[in-house]
């Protein structure tokens, strides 16, 4: 397999040119051969007619009245021509050049026929045979010429074909030579044309070679690229744009992760350092250890959420579908937050009465509900309101978790699902809400073939709506792809 496009193009186009030139040469050869043979036959026929024109009938006598000096080719001994005439079945006349030899007797019909033969002197030749009726000459005055007693003569005239064959052979060789020369010249021309044709490909290859992984902002030039390659360049530039965006996202994500882990890491370091700066009693050490453990747990929660988000984005999470009572699941999840809601004196409005049978992955749904409840309880104002509703209609399961005291406006709605985006751009004293919960909820809801949307109202309500199909889902196969961002975590 030849891998060079240039050589393959050259070979294919050269072969095509050779075949076309060969066919053209052959066609030309046969046309010229036909023409030459036709001219040769006409010349031979003219000789035959010249001989025939000398035939005269005087009564019953047939005379070929010609002077040898007028037709020396039938007399000379050097490369002579031959003729012979028959009046069935007798030979009427032989040319002197035939001496006692005979030409092959042509069939006795009136058609003009040509036949290749070996001449009496051994040369190859061709004979034309014709039949004609003699002209009756008047024997006495008062008798007019007539055809009453005219005799039919069969005449065969032969001449050598060596010259004809030589001419045709020369013509053949000339055409072969010309075709070969044309193939070579066309090969050289094609080499130049192919070189020019693949030059844009080579230039694109050079441009691609100059791309660096640390600078994906460069784009391939499409200005002077042939139309056939425009599509390739556009696709490559599109791929570069997508790669650049993906790399930028990952870079920003890595920076975000580093940034988010710095503060709790500083808290750990400072607590350790302050703790060991002087001798303390046991209670002080225990308090410091407890504080460090809490910080470590927050960091662990953040890292686990990051890993979960990374796996969800890489399609590595599999679904374990089972029949679930969504109302029970909501109650279970809420049990973890009811104490905090009570402590914050939240007015909880509950509209989720079971059973609500759905087919879903309960663990994924639990993570979503956990995040939504955590956000609502954390961000609702003290003694504010929190509303939870769940409905099932037409095979669609809907959950709505809403809380008051939202300071977020519609202009911020495009950021709700951005990783590490926080309405306040800071941790709050209610926990480490690092801006990963809603992106994770979005990924998981999509995995469950559903969707989550956020709405903020002018009256300060923050409403999260989760919609999931209640019927049977197809379990997607987990991807083996390694998530890029997991390495950043």
């Amino acid at each position: 397999m030849i891998r060079s496009l240039r050589i393959r193009l050259l070979i294919h186009t050269s072969l095509a040119a050779a075949v076309i030139l060969g066919l053209l040469g052959a066609a030309l050869y046969f046309c010229m051969r036909q023409s030459t043979e036709s001219d040769f036959n006409l010349a031979l026929l003219a000789k035959g007619r010249a001989v025939a024109s000398t035939a005269e009938q005087h009564g019953q006598q047939i005379i070929f009245d010609y002077a040898p000096e007028q037709m020396p080719q039938f007399v000379t001994s050097d490369h002579p021509d031959y003729f012979q005439a028959w009046i069935d079945p007798d030979v009427v006349i032989r040319s002197p050049s035939l001496k006692q030899n005979d030409l092959p007797r042509p069939p006795n019909n009136s058609q003009l026929t040509y036949a290749d033969l070996v001449l009496p002197d051994g040369r190859s030749g061709r004979a034309v045979s014709m039949s004609f009726v003699t002209t009756i000459e008047p024997l006495a005055e008062g008798n007019s010429p007539g055809t009453e007693n005219a005799r039919t003569i069969v005449l065969s005239v032969a001449t050598e074909t060596i010259g004809l064959h030589r001419t045709l052979q020369n013509l053949g060789w000339l055409l072969v030579g010309l075709c070969s020369f044309a193939v070579v010249v066309s090969g050289i021309v094609l080499l130049w044309i192919v070189g020019r044709a693949v030059r844009p490909v080579e230039r694109i290859a050079r441009d691609i070679d100059q791309l660096r992984e640390n600078d994906l902002s460069t784009r391939l030039r499409s200005s002077d690229v042939p139309l056939e390659l425009q599509g390739v360049v556009e696709k490559l530039n599109g791929l570069l744009s997508r790669l650049e965006a993906a790399f930028s996202r990952e870079k920003a994500f890595t920076a975000d992760v580093a940034h988010e882990l710095r503060t709790p890491l500083t808290a750990l370091l400072t607590t350790f350092e302050v703790c060991r700066s002087r001798p303390r009693d046991e209670a002080a050490y225990l308090a410091a250890i407890d504080k460090c453990r809490n910080v470590a747990q927050l960091m662990q929660a953040m890292v686990e959420m990051l890993l979960l988000l990374a796996r969800a984005e890489a399609g590595q999470l599999s679904l374990k579908l089972q029949s679930t009572d969504a109302a029970d699941l909501i109650d279970d999840c809420w049990a973890l937050f009811s104490g905090r809601a009570e402590a914050r004196r939240l007015n909880v409005q509950w509209q989720a009465v079971g059973p609500i049978p759905i087919e879903t992955d309960p663990e994924k749904l639990r993570i979503i509900l956990h995040n939504l409840f955590d956000n609502a309880v954390s961000y609702a104002d003290e003694a504010g309101a929190l509303r939870v509703s769940a409905t099932l209609s037409a095979d669609v399961f809907r959950v709505e978790v809403a809380n008051t005291a939202s300071r977020l406006g519609p202009e911020q709605s495009s950021h709700f699902f951005d990783r590490f985006w926080r309405g306040d751009q800071a941790r709050t004293d209610v926990g480490i809400h690092c801006g990963l919960g809603l992106p994770l909820c979005q990924r998981l809801s999509r995995l469950l073939k559903g969707e989550i949307e956020i709405q903020t109202t002018e009256r300060g309500w923050f409403i999260a709506r989760l919609t999931l199909p209640a019927g049977r889902l197809e379990e997607p196969a987990a991807s083996d792809e390694i998530p890029v961002i997991s390495s950043a975590v």
């Binding site: 940034h259 350092e273 700066s277």
Partner: protein, 226 residues
């Protein structure tokens, strides 16, 4: 010296406050930008340790408002943002120093001490008043070469007086710079600590260094004997 620690992540804020208090500083703390501005207006802090990413009002906006109000406090920005642009932005807004998380508390403490020296225009870490030496880096005091054992509050009071040598400082000044909002504002607490300090650094036969200016305050310095 009085500090204000503004940090929204509670465990870090608590540890910083504890560390600074144990280092002899009076420390107020705030968890958001709004509280930071309130504390900054209410008390005269020598140094404000200010996180940038804060709830309600971000740290850079707090800094901008402080500078617009001509706050005399020096500000050390404490943040996880580590790009040159972040640092330039913070310093151009009027920050006096910039420390990127994570850091060693010892480094933060050293930078705060340096800022305090800068504020009181003292380049040396050892303040000398006659034969009294106050070593601000090691937090120890000597007079005539003999070490004097002081409590944290006594040391803080002496260091503040030493930074203001030969200047009269009012009780209010002392209260503002040596005590934080957790201290009970009793009317004679400053006088009590001045008395305790005198007993420790002024031995019989040695010249008096802490002088009372009736109706004005106190002055630390070597006065000519009348």
């Amino acid at each position: 010296m009085r500090l204000l620690v503004v940090e929204d992540f509670q465990p870090l804020r608590e540890s910083l406050t504890q560390g600074f208090r144990e280092a002899g500083y009076a420390v107020d703390e705030a968890s958001d930008g709004q509280a930071a501005l309130w504390h900054a207006r209410a008390g005269e802090h020598d140094v404000i340790i200010l996180d940038i990413m804060l709830p309600k009002i971000d740290g850079l906006s707090v800094l901008r408002q402080l500078r617009q109000q001509s706050s005399p406090s020096l500000v050390l920005l404490l943040t996880a943002k580590d790009t040159a642009e972040d640092k330039i932005n913070g310093l151009e807004l009027g920050a006096d120093d910039y420390l990127v998380k994570p850091f060693l508390f010892a480094e933060l403490l050293a930078r705060v001490k340096a800022l305090v020296r800068r504020k009181y225009e003292t380049k040396s870490t050892i303040l000398r008043i006659a034969d009294l030496e106050v070593d601000t880096s090691r937090r120890c005091v000597r007079r005539g070469g003999k070490p004097i054992d002081l409590s944290g509050r006594e040391y803080a009071l002496l260091e503040f007086l030493a930074h203001n040598t030969d200047r009269i400082v009012s009780r209010t000044d002392i209260w503002q710079h040596v005590y934080d909002f957790n201290a009970s504002p009793e009317s004679n607490v400053v006088d009590v600590y001045i008395g305790l300090l005198r007993k420790k650094i002024e031995r019989p036969g040695a010249p008096r260094l802490i002088h009372t200016r009736r109706g004005q305050g106190y002055l630390l310095g070597e006065m000519e004997q009348r």
